[in-house]
């Protein structure tokens, strides 16, 4: 059974931790301390079991056969779509498109929405916090259309100021694309205000929600953005599956971006008519088991309660910030007042990659490098940082293990 917070509302992290079989393993003879969930989170038993049951009992192609298995697979796949819709409170499941993940979702919008519409000199506005997945697709489409990519700079805390966003918009701004939560620093961006500003100027808004959905409640009806992208593997689901949630009127007007089976109604060598939403954007046999796993991950999050997860992680963030600030020579990069449970840091005299290797030898997994956010690293004038990120299963003892391993790193380097 999934762990649930007990009736007193106390979040029993040890029970949650036990739901994730991989966390019990050892690394280099030490108990695993997994602090790299922002790169990819682990999967609970219930997700593993749901995928396993699908493979053993229900697999067939979807939307094709009249036989029993195809109907079961189709029902599971479409149930998953409805779970995704419900999870982010999207308007309708017709606007929920399964993709390989956030990156593919953004590329879909860049190629199928932006490319046919952008004119030379039109502007795409990003922020200085973006992951490469929310930069490069726009640079590609800018190269194809003559549009210009601009970025709102961050301040020394890693914050994006709404007034700065406003001052970077003009009559040529067509698309505003930004993360809801920065993967490199953890900053939570004011996406609702940014969306309002953009809409007031007639621009369309894409939000990269990859780092937001595992940590906080997302309500797309309230947010009102035009496109929202996220991945299952950062929210306890499988890799290779994610979603693009789009405004139906925009999706209807967009051409398909890949051709193949499932996205058509009729094909002759003279003319093809395309399928309706969302299938128009789902060419080929989809990642059915991935969608089943994604739905199971949403069920799991719901069983804990996303607000309980948020509160737990915020508590850990406060403790970890305090304990890491006490480590000699340690500097936290990214000190926004509103942060998700992500801490990027450097240590004087120890390169992040040396740190990563030493922590790994102690069983502590952190991400080291540029976090696919090289503009952020450049802004803070560091080649790389170490990053500890927390999830529903992270424990206070994991923070203590990190601090102990950091002391070990200082021993090696002095």
């Amino acid at each position: 059974m999934n762990a649930k917070p007990d009736i007193a509302g106390v979040y029993d992290v040890q029970r949650v931790w036990r739901d994730f079989p991989i966390l019990a393993r050892q690394v280099h003879g030490k108990p695993l301390v997994f602090l790299d969930s922002a790169a990819s989170s682990q999967r609970p038993e219930s997700v593993i079991a749901a995928v396993d049951e699908y493979e053993r009992m229900h697999h067939a192609n979807v939307h094709r056969g009249v036989h029993q298995l195809s109907q079961e697979a189709t029902a599971l796949f479409e149930r998953a779509r409805e779970r995704v819709r419900d999870f982010v409170n999207a308007a309708s499941s017709r606007g929920v498109i399964f993709t390989r993940g956030t990156t593919e979702s953004i590329n879909l919008v860049a190629q199928a929405y932006a490319r046919p519409r952008l004119q030379r000199g039109d502007e795409i506005l990003l922020t200085g916090l973006e992951h490469h997945a929310n930069i490069v697709p726009w640079q590609l489409v800018a190269g194809q259309t003559g549009a210009i990519v601009k970025a709102v700079p961050i301040d020394r805390r890693g914050v994006i100021d709404v007034a700065d966003v406003a001052s970077h918009m003009n009559e040529r701004t067509r698309i505003v694309a930004c993360a809801q939560v920065s993967n490199a620093l953890g900053t939570v961006l004011p996406v609702r205000e940014i969306t309002r500003l953009a809409h007031a100027r007639g621009a369309v808004v894409l939000i990269d929600g990859a780092q937001a959905v595992p940590h906080q409640r997302v309500d797309l009806k309230a947010l009102d953005c035009d496109f929202y992208a996220f991945s299952a593997h950062k929210m306890y689901g499988p890799t290779g599956i994610g979603a693009l949630i789009g405004r139906e009127s925009l999706l209807e007007a967009m051409p398909p971006w890949q051709g193949g089976g499932d996205m058509i109604l009729t094909v002759s060598f003279e003319k093809t008519t395309f399928n309706e939403l969302p299938f128009k954007f789902e060419a080929g046999t989809p990642n059915i088991s991935g969608a089943v796993g994604m739905a199971a991950a949403i069920d799991y999050i719901d069983s804990l309660g996303i607000d309980n997860i948020h509160a737990h992680e915020q508590r850990l963030l406060a403790i970890a910030t305090r304990k890491l600030e006490a480590v000699p020579g340690l500097t936290i990069i990214g000190t926004a007042p509103d942060k998700a449970a992500v801490i990027s840091f450097t240590i004087d005299g120890i390169h992040p990659h040396d740190l990563g290797t030493i922590l790994d030898s102690e069983g502590v997994a952190v991400r080291t490098g540029h976090h696919c956010a090289m503009p952020v690293m450049e802004f803070f004038n560091v080649p790389a940082t170490a990053r500890a990120s927390f999830a529903c299963y992270s424990r206070e003892s994991d923070i203590d293990a990190l601090v102990t391993a950091l002391a070990r790193a200082r021993e090696v380097f002095t």
Binding site: T357, V412, F413
Partner: protein, 147 residues
């Protein structure tokens, strides 16, 4: 895996106080090396006398393994002929990439890098400087990458 095998005293010393650090100006050749995954950047300048590297310097930023490897390399190749340098490169390459390769006696202090092979993801850190030196010797102006 033993951390002591990776971070030997020689490595820590050369990381802390890199030898032949800086740039030669004028130089006969130079090259940039970049490891995009780590963000490591090295610049190597060389002076040549005929077939011999009469002097060289490196500078840049990187992890302890890449800085120490560059420092040890500069010491090892200074004054050597191209063929001798190529021979050293082949030896160090074998030591870094083959788990069971014997460590040749003539590697000298470079043998301190042999522990890197127990840490496969760090091999590129140790080899970046050698690729950069080779690029400088080939008079290539293109930045080299180990990714």
């Amino acid at each position: 895996m033993d951390l002591k095998d990776l971070y030997r005293d020689v490595i820590l010393d050369h990381n802390k106080s890199p030898r032949l650090f800086g740039r030669l100006d004028p130089a006969d050749s130079s090259a940039d090396g970049h490891n995009p995954l780590c963000g490591d950047r090295l610049h190597v300048t060389v002076k040549l006398e005929g077939d011999r590297v009469s002097d060289l310097r490196f500078d840049g930023k990187g992890c302890a393994i890449s800085v120490a490897s560059a420092s040890l390399m500069c010491e090892a190749v200074k004054g050597k002929r191209r063929a001798e340098i190529a021979h050293l490169f082949n030896e160090i390459h074998d030591v870094l990439t083959h788990h069971d390769a014997p460590v040749p006696d003539d590697l000298g202090k470079l043998a301190a890098l042999s522990g890197v092979r127990e840490f496969p993801v760090r091999v590129k850190c140790a080899s970046l400087c050698w690729h950069t030196l080779n690029a400088a010797l080939d008079r290539s102006s293109e930045p080299v990458q180990t990714e």
